[in-house]
């Protein structure tokens, strides 16, 4: 009887999983969780410096301080990718690019396990820590 229940559970699980397989999940390739504009707003800050390399170093130190391992970084491209493993996997990519002659734009996005992080709070905390590390104020960008 119990074995039968087990088999039925497995069958149900297999059917449920089968529903997600196939081409439907391909839509994830271009999918975003929130509106692009809204998401960009809380993932982006401007800093009053033209020093991209210094900003990247501050980003790396901030990520390390949060317990991330830096997977890779490219000073020319201005990108840093990092992963935090602590019973879960949290992946972050941060890019730094010039904004006019006097500012840099820092954009961060995070992925927790298999989902994009859409809650603004973690990003706010990241930028607050980055402000402290850079001794500069993070400006919100429209």
């Amino acid at each position: 009887m119990k074995a039968l229940t087990m088999k039925a559970t497995l069958l149900a699980a297999a059917l449920a999983a089968g529903g997600c397989a196939g081409t439907a999940s391909q839509k994830e390739v271009l999918a975003t969780d929130k509106s692009q504009v809204e998401q960009r707003a809380f993932q982006t800050r401007a800093f009053d410096t033209s020093d991209k390399e210094q900003t990247l170093r501050a980003v790396i130190q901030t990520l390390q301080d949060f317990g991330f391992i830096i997977d890779r970084a490219d000073a020319v491209l201005g990108a840093v990718s990092a992963t935090k493993l602590d019973g879960y996997s949290l992946r972050m990519t941060v890019t730094v690019r010039p904004r006019g002659a006097t500012q840099v734009l820092v954009r961060a996005n995070a992925q927790y396990q298999i989902k994009a992080v859409t809650d603004p709070k973690p990003y706010q905390n990241f930028f607050t820590a980055l402000e402290r590390s850079m001794f500069l104020k993070a400006h919100e960008v429209d």
Partner: protein
Amino acid sequence: MNTVRAGILLLVVVAAGCVQLPEDALLTPASLEQRQIETRRFEGIPEADLLSACAAVLQDLGYGVDSTDSRLGLITASKERGALDAGQIAGAVVLVLLTGVTMPTDKSQTIRASVVVYPAPGKSRNDHFVRLSLQRIVRTSNAGVTRSEWLRDPVLYQGFFEKLSQSVFLEAHKI
């Protein structure tokens, strides 16, 4: 027994379903204590020399370098090793003898390290901080089940920095 397994299966499914960002993940930076464990100051050595000494120590310890950016003072490395733990296996054997429940034991692991060298505030251009981060992914005897951890044990960091100090000393004296 099957009820237990079904229960565990249900628990796993439920746990996987609620993907919640743990409060501490991005909310709190490492404690001052953790920062001190992971960081050492080196004086009178140019950044490039210090970075290459770090690479040499990682190599001594059997790590393969995955990625570097010398302009940003960064090295990321990893190694694959066994993760057999005699104590854990003994525990699993006792458990299976007493209850018939097989407990998965650690089998292999990927250890990841990133080293960042950055200028220390002060007058000298050749004073730097080196910060090491260590994590590992452990695979168990139960295929597909893995565990990931942030390695926080101070002994691990101390061991790396002792080797780095020796290496820097030898380099400085051209031995």
